[in-house]
């Protein structure tokens, strides 16, 4: 075995730097430890104090999120959050990013991202019931972007389809801001008995600690540290792994079976920083310690050093603490599933992470120093965010409205997403009530009359233009989509994808976006129960749009209130709920006109948003809403077209005079289109008046055309079939062109 540098050499030659520690951080370790850390110990601090594991730049801000409420069974801090949907059922869910690995190996990067989030959810003792994914890429004209996109989608499907969990929703946005830094965020939702949440605490002195699943190899050593750098060469070194969905599926079944025995004290998946983070975090949650005998770790390669074992990021492994005396359960169940299981240590009460190898103590450090005392940075923040869109001058808009309409419908961000989701198994488990293609997905809860609703949203352009408002919109829009499906939003998870936190302007984006998200989640009563931060999404000094992605989970209490997002038939009233605001700030229309995002974030008032969502919930509960769809990217014209193409039902809409462009394509928030049966208009209007929500009848469904008229002069009138063909053609056509790896 290669000899490792001595503690003295580590200090003298600043070797800790390559292991992820700054000079200050190293000094702090030495001071708190009262001695120089050895090589293994330095490695432990390097990964646990990395941005990825310690949230050192973001922790101070994340505290501002509301995280509690009567519906919350488990807030942030565990592997996933859990909400109560009644009937004794809890829903566990979390979202996670896999941006950097996906940029260098899109198929495996995306696949292992799905595998990781899956483990986070079943670790809670929850049976996974659905996946969602939120994707950002550059424009599809670029062959390399097509390669990334095609392989990310294939990788998500490759893992999710194999483990037999339906992928029921998500989003995909294409903008030059993401050309060099695609975003791949995966969300998993699971179901469990509300009183049987498994947690990741290593409790009970003397209890045995097991490593189960795959053997440990030399994969991805330093993945967590390298994820937190902007150097693409270094990102590459975060050695990509090959996902093993087959093993992932067996591990899921085995762990759920094991947890159901009641003999599991604590369980945690080994994600970033593998054995190091799982053992230290489990000990920290219990306020105790853990002792590991590394000779016992099943290794795939011979001659692995303690350092390598502790930092390996080999996939599909879990750390499990069992009740003493129940060891045989672990062996029986894991062997039945043909999986590796080994007892490698025990729980202690001395608050230390102690590692032994060949009888020697190779590391012995306080858990609290590793986990709880990780540095927290008040990174430098600019005082005020300079809103870049306010400087953009706009070309004179053309009044060829129909051309602009079709251009928006053909934009990959708006266009039909079947090319993506037909590659996902959306109906396995035979519980998908509403899969992709609607505002939110609905998954049945067996044995009840309920369904779980879920949607992801997050418009980076809005956040870039105005981080605070944009952050709030991300939350509002995801909740609004859940409301449109007929459900009641309960709580959210998120992935905060940002640029380099060492830049004061980026930290301002972050601070403001988090502030706005917190405000909206408080006002809408959707607390934050889990989440993830991904910084350093920059290449060559250019950062992505700040992109918080929000995943909202809700409950549909009565199945007959499931509400589609497309028009159901002819001769129905079409109503616009919410203010008739016509500003074009932040719209995709303006971006296409100006070549870059323009103006402020769209119009958004949180009080109005809350009232609109409450009204639509009440109207759906009353039973006279036939379809509901929110107005989002592309504005009212795109929303009407989307409602029309679903089942090929036309619509004639008439709006009062005033800014036709804004009426057609403005993206003011807090607006929902409803289709109501003939004769129900007055009832809805009365309800809206009582709840102080503007509500105007704008037209009727029927015919083969979608027409929109503003005042008496400006009009668009296009056949539903034409709109559909434009809307449906984009992704298949673009993706038919050759890819460039």
């Amino acid at each position: 075995m290669r000899t490792e540098p001595t503690p003295e050499a580590i200090e003298e030659n600043s070797l800790y730097r390559a292991m992820g520690l700054t000079d200050d951080e190293y000094r702090r370790v030495v001071e708190r430890l009262g001695r120089r850390p050895n090589y293994v110990e330095t490695g432990l601090f390097g990964v646990l104090w990395s941005e990825h594991c310690s949230y050192k730049s973001s922790r101070a801000y994340l505290k501002k999120f509301p995280t509690s409420g009567p519906q919350v069974l488990q807030g942030p801090g565990e592997n996933a959050g859990v909400v109560d949907i009644g009937d004794g059922i809890g829903i566990a869910f979390k979202m996670e990013s896999h941006n950097h690995p996906s940029a260098v190996e899109p198929y495996q990067g995306a696949a292992t991202g799905v595998g990781g989030i899956l483990r986070d959810v079943f670790t809670m003792g929850a049976r996974p019931i659905a996946f969602l994914n939120s994707l950002r890429f550059g424009p599809l004209e670029d062959g390399h972007t097509r390669y990334l996109f095609a392989n990310v989608v294939a990788g998500i499907g490759g893992y999710g389809n194999c483990v037999g969990i339906p992928t029921v929703g998500g989003e995909a946005v294409f903008d030059p801001a993401y050309t060099h830094n695609p975003l791949v965020n995966a969300m998993c939702v699971g179901m469990l008995p509300a009183d049987a949440i498994a947690t990741g605490a290593a409790k009970g002195v003397g209890n045995p600690v097991f490593v189960v699943g795959s053997r440990t190899g030399r994969d991805g050593i330093h993945g967590a540290t390298f994820a937190s750098t902007d150097n693409p060469k270094e990102k590459e070194r975060s050695a990509v792994q090959v996902g093993d969905p087959f093993l992932g599926k067996l591990l899921m079944e085995a762990c759920l079976e094991l947890i159901s025995t009641g003999a599991v004290v604590g369980i945690q998946d080994m994600g970033a920083a593998g054995l190091t983070s799982s053992s230290a975090e489990m000990a920290s949650r219990a306020g105790g310690g853990v002792e590991l005998y590394l000779d016992l770790v099943p290794c795939r390669e011979s001659g692995m050093s303690p350092y390598e074992m502790m930092l390996s990021e080999s996939q599909e492994r879990m750390l499990v603490v069992m009740e003493k005396g129940q060891e045989s359960l672990a062996f029986d169940i894991l062997h039945k599933w043909d999986l590796q299981v080994e007892e490698i240590g025990k729980v202690t009460d001395d608050g230390r992470l102690r590692l032994l190898f060949h009888g020697d103590v190779v590391a012995d450090v306080p858990v609290s120093l590793l986990v709880d005392e990780a540095p927290v940075y008040q990174r430098c923040v600019v005082d005020r965010y300079h809103q870049p869109g306010l400087d953009v001058s706009l070309p004179v808009p053309s009044s060829n409205w129909e051309a602009a309409w079709l251009e928006l419908l053909a934009h990959p961000t708006i266009a039909d997403k079947r090319w993506i989701y037909q590659q996902y198994d959306t109906s396995v488990r035979a519980s998908t009530l509403v899969g992709p293609g609607s505002d939110a997905a609905l998954v049945l809860v067996p044995g009840t009359q309920k369904a779980v609703a879920m949607a992801t949203d997050g418009n980076g352009r809005y956040v870039y233009l105005n981080p605070r408002v944009g952050g709030a919109i991300a939350v509002a829009e995801a909740a609004r989509n859940v409301v449109c499906s007929g459900a009641r939003p309960l709580a959210l998870t998120n992935c905060l994808n940002f640029g380099n936190p060492e830049k004061p302007a980026i930290m301002r984006q972050f601070a403001d976006a988090v502030e706005g998200m917190g405000e909206a989640s408080r006002a809408l009563d959707v607390p934050v129960v889990s989440g993830n931060v991904s910084f350093y999404n920059e290449t060559g000094g250019t950062d992505i749009f700040p992109t918080p992605v929000v995943g909202v989970v809700g409950v549909l209490d009565a199945l007959n209130r499931a509400t589609p997002s497309s028009f159901q038939g002819d001769g129905h009233e079409v109503v616009l709920v919410g203010v008739d605001e016509r500003g074009l700030d932040g719209s995709l229309y303006w971006q296409l006109q100006a070549g870059k995002p323009a103006g402020d974030a769209p119009y958004f008032r949180i009080e109005e948003e809350v009232r609109v969502q409450k009204l639509v919930q009440a109207a759906i509960a009353a039973g006279y809403v036939l379809a509901a769809h929110d107005v989002s990217e592309g504005g009212l014209a795109v929303a009407l077209a989307e409602m029309a193409v679903g089942r090929g039902v036309g619509v004639q809409a008439q709006l009062i005079a005033g800014s036709p462009a804004g009426a057609f394509f403005g993206e003011a928030q807090g607006r929902i289109l409803l289709e109501v049966a003939d004769g129900q208009l007055e009832t809805l209007q009365a309800l809206a008046a009582a709840k102080e929500v503007p509500c105007q009848r704008i037209g009727r469904t029927g015919g083969a055309m979608v027409s929109m008229t503003v005042g008496s002069t400006d009009a668009m009138n296009v056949a539903v079939a034409r709109l559909a063909s434009v809307y449906n053609a984009t992704l298949p056509e673009r993706m038919n062109e050759p890819i460039a790896p």
């Binding site: 294939a154 969905p245 087959f246 067996l250 996902y424 959306t426």
Partner: protein, 228 residues
Amino acid sequence: MKWAVIVFPGSNCDEDAANAIVRVTGDSAVLVWHQQTSLEGYDAIVLPGGFSYGDYLRSGAIARFAPIMTAVHEQAQRGVPILGICNGFQVLTEAGLLPGGLLRNADLHFHCKMVELEVLNNRTPFTSAYQLGEIIRVPIAHGEGRYHADEETLTGLKEGDAVAFQYVENPNGSAMGIAGIVNERGNVLGMMPHPERAVAEFMQSEDGARLFQSVHDYVLAKEVSHAH
């Protein structure tokens, strides 16, 4: 009657199949672990969809060696109805219980969507509740469903009336648009589409229900005729 649904490591439509059977026929459906060696006492056997052994190497290639497969062969010999769905179909071809094989879809993409099938043979234990030539709607969800066989085999299938279901619009490049075939004796059916995902209104189609009903009726009729 009693159905067996085989569970291989990596099967993931086993419970869906069992639930569909119970829902449609009211029969009992037992999940049978791949390590078992006997299928005595079961009136019908289902090899469900999923990714047995990860579908590594070739889909179904490793599952065919599972201990339970010896029993599946025995029951096939005895004329027990055996239904392979998706991965189950792949296992049956790899095991030699059905001719041909299934390759990666011609466009290399996994496809999950509702498709239309034409019933080309309604004189099997699996299809008697359908009309000949009827168009039914059943979802597919597979990446390797392109049916392949040599010319001679294909001619044999055609002449032997062994093609039970044909895609109305071929989604994967299958030879002769084959979606499902039966063996010569008619008691082994393999199909790529998922009838267990088309047995309730919310699933957008209930056309799959009659497949399970057909098997149920067939087994009961046989029991009656034996009793006489």
